[in-house]
């Protein structure tokens, strides 16, 4: 589509047609005391001066050489192919594909993304994506409430604390009651009033849940309740059993690990997939494949749009009418360029490196690994001196692990460590050294 600017001649002509003397008259309803006359801004800079200015600002950033921080946002290898494909202007600056006849390329890309996610998770249907993992989980909870006509949702401890905050906000708007339960209390809280149980695996503390056993426990106590799993780093699907092979009804994940840079915490990618019986209740966009009426040529289009709020209005389960198109394209390119074997290799390296670090930490006096279940690429450790640990990491130019007291004030001595395939041997040695240097207890320092 061409950009058609207004020139002075056109403006004058349009004003005369509608009977307005000058452009300012269109704004005469705005009170005079609210009109701004000039902004207190400095003089404009030339292009080379702007570049120099930004470069100076950029130098203020501390770019760590390696990271041991996870907690929902991860450093992974991103194939150069991803940037190459998404940088094409047809994808990078494209508008939302409501007009199928003008958007076949993007619709095909989204269709392929949906297909890849469906295959990877073994869930029957995946949508075109939501904003991020947290909102995808919140939307899943609302979807479950609508399907079951029940208004209580249980959240198992171990779901990312920020995701819980997001779900609380969404549920408050929909008048759904949210209850956070421990694994021990789960069975007693499972009544016939529960619409869904939400759990995260691998969870915020790194534990991998036995999803098959957990799902069976839920179904036994509350047969109509939906089971919703969320995941913050889905690269683990390279080795773990896919949710489609369990009783999980709705699966959501943060897709940032699939080819999207951590940046400053966003943008994310809300992966959303479900079993086929829920197809007509899934929120968000669905791209489908169809055929010409008068021929055999195939094409792509937005389908099952009667679910969406522009048609269903107040009866819709969600008001979302978009998707993270560019990020879903990144994920698609990431997954197809790695393929099955590549993703398996990445997941294996994550486990191996994380376990290597775990073993090394176990050998340092003063530290204790607290996980009792199997872990993927994250685990929690009790530390003798967290402030010293953080400082030591920075001294070694490493982005430090997360002190859990940020979310759980009672967990004063615990950090959440993340090790991915992107952590080099050198960085791991540096991290171990940082831990060793920081193992004197606070009380001993005078």
């Amino acid at each position: 589509m061409d950009f058609i600017p207004h020139d002075d001649k056109t403006i004058t002509e349009m004003l005369s047609i509608i009977g307005v003397a000058q452009l300012e008259d269109l704004f005469k309803d705005i009170p005079k005391d609210l009109i701004i006359n000039g902004l207190n801004l400095p003089e404009g800079l030339s292009e080379p001066d702007v570049l120099k200015n930004l470069q100076e600002l950029g130098k203020k950033n501390n770019v760590y050489s390696n990271s041991f921080l996870g907690a929902g946002c991860y450093f992974h290898y991103i194939p150069t192919l991803v940037d190459f494909v998404i940088s094409r202007s047809e994808f990078y600056t494209s508008y939302t594909p409501y007009q199928a006849e003008a958007s076949q390329g993007y619709l095909q890309a989204i269709y392929e993304y949906q297909s890849v996610i469906s295959r990877l998770t073994q869930m029957d249907v995946a949508n075109a994506s939501m904003y991020d993992g947290s909102t995808a989980l919140a939307e899943a909870a609302i979807m479950a409430s609508i399907i079951t006509r029940k208004s209580q949702v249980l959240v198992l401890e171990g779901v990312h604390p920020e995701y819980i905050e997001v779900i609380k906000t969404y549920c408050w708007g929909q008048k759904i009651e949210l209850k956070i339960v421990s694994e021990e209390k789960l069975e007693s809280e499972l009544t016939q009033d529960v619409a869904a149980v939400l759990f995260q695996s691998p969870n915020f503390f790194g534990d991998i849940e036995d999803v098959v056993v957990l799902a069976k426990k839920i179904k036994k106590n509350a047969s109509t309740c939906l089971i919703i799993q969320c995941m913050t780093d889905p690269t683990c699907l390279g080795v773990l059993k896919p949710p489609g092979e369990t009783d999980v009804d709705i699966f959501v994940a943060e897709g940032q690990s699939f080819g999207i840079s951590p940046s400053f915490g966003g943008p994310g990618l809300g992966i959303f997939a479900a079993k086929s019986k829920f197809l007509r209740k899934i929120p968000g966009r669905l791209v489908g494949k169809t055929k010409e009426i008068d021929g055999e040529r195939e094409g792509f289009l937005l389908t099952l749009q009667a679910r969406e709020q522009h048609i269903r209005r107040e009866k819709a389960s969600s008001n979302i009418c978009t998707n993270q198109a560019l990020c879903s394209l990144s994920a698609l390119v990431y997954l197809v360029s790695l393929g099955k074997t590549g993703l398996r290799e990445i997941a294996t390296q994550n486990i191996q490196k994380a376990h290597y670090v775990k073993n090394r930490i176990n050998a340092i006096p003063g530290y204790k690994i607290l996980n009792t279940k199997p872990t993927y690429n994250e685990f929690i450790i009790k530390c003798p001196n967290i402030e010293s640990l953080i400082q030591q990491c920075k001294n070694h130019n490493l982005l430090p692990p997360l002190p859990l007291s940020k979310y759980y004030p009672e967990m004063k001595d615990i950090v959440l460590v993340c090790v991915t395939e992107s952590n080099s041997r050198e960085s791991i040695e540096a991290f171990i050294e940082a831990l060793e240097n920081a193992n004197t207890k606070k009380e001993e320092k005078s």
Partner: protein
Amino acid sequence: MVNIIEHEFPSELKYLQTHEWVRIQDNIATVGITDFAQHQLGDIVYVELPEIGMAFDKGSNVAEIESVKAVGELIMPLSGKILEVNTDLADNPESVNSSPYGSGWMVKIELSNKNEINELLSVEAYQEIVEAEKA
């Protein structure tokens, strides 16, 4: 049969102003949407029917009727329990358009309060409502 231009409204049926029709036989009522409603909605693609055995009050929403451009509701004309639903609509939703009073029927109800039948509209009263909406 009373004909208004384009639409058919069988005179032996009763109607609601929300465009449902009702056929009553003893204690059983069959319900669907009128020819006017199907025309307004356009091509029906999916009907979400209630579960058998569920009880509803008169006036409540029991089914959702999806067309390509809109979603309509089926309102219970009378209070009762769902006895039967038209499972053919899963594969042939278009019968709501082609035969709204026949193969496009939606639910059969066992009535719990036959007095409510008096509150239903006759074909003439319904016809007036349609005329007003078309104006």
